[in-house]
């Protein structure tokens, strides 16, 4: 790595870390979560970057080299068909297979009890032995080639486990190389380390489905709570095993549908929040000292009273569709904020409109530090290149301290 690139990397890391600890760096850091946008910029289709990780990584490297961004993620098109197709994962649609090549991958949610990945009467199995339940019950249900224990094994089954494991190892090995390449080629910081999901979200997304879980909190509330508690240490373990050993960049948690109006504040308090809060506090405290990027998808402002309970600086609060000025008023003194630039503006607005919004956010939220420029949600291929450039330029123009 050249000396200039090393200096640039150090400057960007210092800027990013200072903002995340609610301090005032030299300027507002820029940390876009760019997914299919990178494909569009680099000239690839969505199908290409979903299937070919070399192209997915190359697209991010091209964007990192072209835009003056402080931090990015090595690949935000996180569903790689090299892995999912190896086992026949059936809860995704993939561009070029069962979706048009220009679509993004999509999650296919269980519509009813019959299609749920975990049945209502299987809570005790999950609670007693989460890993065993996943390996023996869940994996065969969500992967077409994997058969249940006790059933005759098949060639496809044997290969699904082998190829899936090898593909995962390949993916994460390549991811490490991508992080190094970002640093060496463009002096860009890798924005996150380690992935976390909240137990209640996992129950909804990958096990019972949202509709099933809505019924469960009334029909079997104690089982739901016990399941969240059983999943909690595993969520912690998996988050920390992939976290930044230098503890500079945060673990990311993608918060799905726990907030109002998906669940009432009473239900949130009773079911979602106890394990979510405990996990964040344990990642931050207990010698771990790692921040959590609290990626609040949708509008979480009704739930801000809960967020306030978290220790100062333990999270970076990412604002998607909520009013970021309200968030700043409520928790800006405790946590760094990120996001708040509307994705619909990046897709359908003009560069002048984008610039005006960025200026307003920086002046209203970032004036004392503790703010990171980003779109509200992950940027897909509907974001216009000129608007993303305008967001970048505006952050540099208005974001100097």
């Amino acid at each position: 790595m050249s000396e200039d690139m090393a200096t640039l990397y150090d400057q960007r890391m210092a800027r990013y870390v200072a903002a995340m600890h609610n301090e005032k760096p030299d300027m507002v850091p820029i940390r876009p979560f760019a997914a299919e946008f990178c494909a569009k910029y680099a000239g690839y289709t969505n199908q290409e970057v979903t299937h070919d990780i070399d192209k997915a990584f190359d697209a991010v490297l091209k964007c990192a080299a072209a835009f003056d961004w402080d931090a990015v993620v090595g690949n935000m098109v996180y569903v790689w068909t090299g892995l999912t197709d190896a086992a026949g994962t059936n809860y995704y649609t993939a561009p070029g297979i069962d979706a048009p090549p220009d679509d993004a991958f999509q999650y296919r949610e269980p519509a009813d009890e019959a299609s749920a990945f975990m049945k209502a009467d299987e809570y005790d199995q999950l609670i007693d032995d989460p890993t065993g339940f996943l390996a023996n019950v869940w994996m065969p249900r969500v992967n077409d080639y994997i058969v249940e224990p006790g059933q005759p094994s098949t060639y496809r089954n044997n290969l699904a486990w082998l190829k899936g494991g090898m593909a995962t190892l390949t993916y994460f090995t390549r991811f490490g190389e991508q992080i190094a390449a970002l640093k060496e080629q463009s002096g860009t910081v890798h924005a996150i380390g380690g992935c976390l999901k909240m137990p209640f979200d996992i129950l909804a997304d990958k096990l019972r489905g949202y509709r099933g879980l809505c019924a469960d909190i009334h029909r079997r509330p104690d089982k739901v709570k016990a399941a969240c508690e059983a999943l909690r240490p595993h969520m912690m373990f998996n988050a920390l095993v992939g976290s930044d050993p230098t503890k500079q960049v945060p673990v990311s948690v993608w918060l799905h549908r726990g907030c109002a109006p998906f669940f009432s504040l009473k239900a949130f308090d009773e079911f979602y929040w106890p394990t979510a809060r405990q996990i964040i506090e344990d990642i931050w405290d207990n010698g771990n000292g790692v921040q959590v990027l609290f990626y609040a998808e949708g509008d979480w402002n009704a739930n801000l009273e809960f967020v306030k309970q978290l220790p100062d600086h333990s999270i970076i609060y990412h604002v998607d569709r909520a009013d970021i000025f309200e968030v700043h008023e409520a928790v800006g003194h405790k946590f760094c904020l990120s996001g708040g630039v509307r994705n619909d503006l990046l897709a359908f607005g003009t560069p002048d409109e984008v610039r005006a919004q960025c200026k307003a956010v920086i002046e209203g939220v970032g004036r004392d530090g503790g703010y990171i420029m980003d779109a509200g949600a992950i940027m897909q291929d509907d974001a216009k290149v000129e608007n993303v450039q305008a967001m970048t330029d505006a952050a540099r123009e208005y974001g100097k301290y």
Binding site: T84, D129, L134, V142, T168, C195, I202, N238, V241
Partner: protein
Amino acid sequence: MPDDKKPRLEPGECIPWEQRVKEYEKLLGDPEVVKKVWKETDMLGYLYIWACLIQF
């Protein structure tokens, strides 16, 4: 699902060393060497299963 014969799995485990070590007739060398590599490789299996749930 678990019974008396099956120890409760901790995070990072698929088949605990305590279970595996009983399956050897005897270990002629240093058991710590065998244990270390067993646990490290066992954790790869664990991480794959949980990555499917959490990451993808």
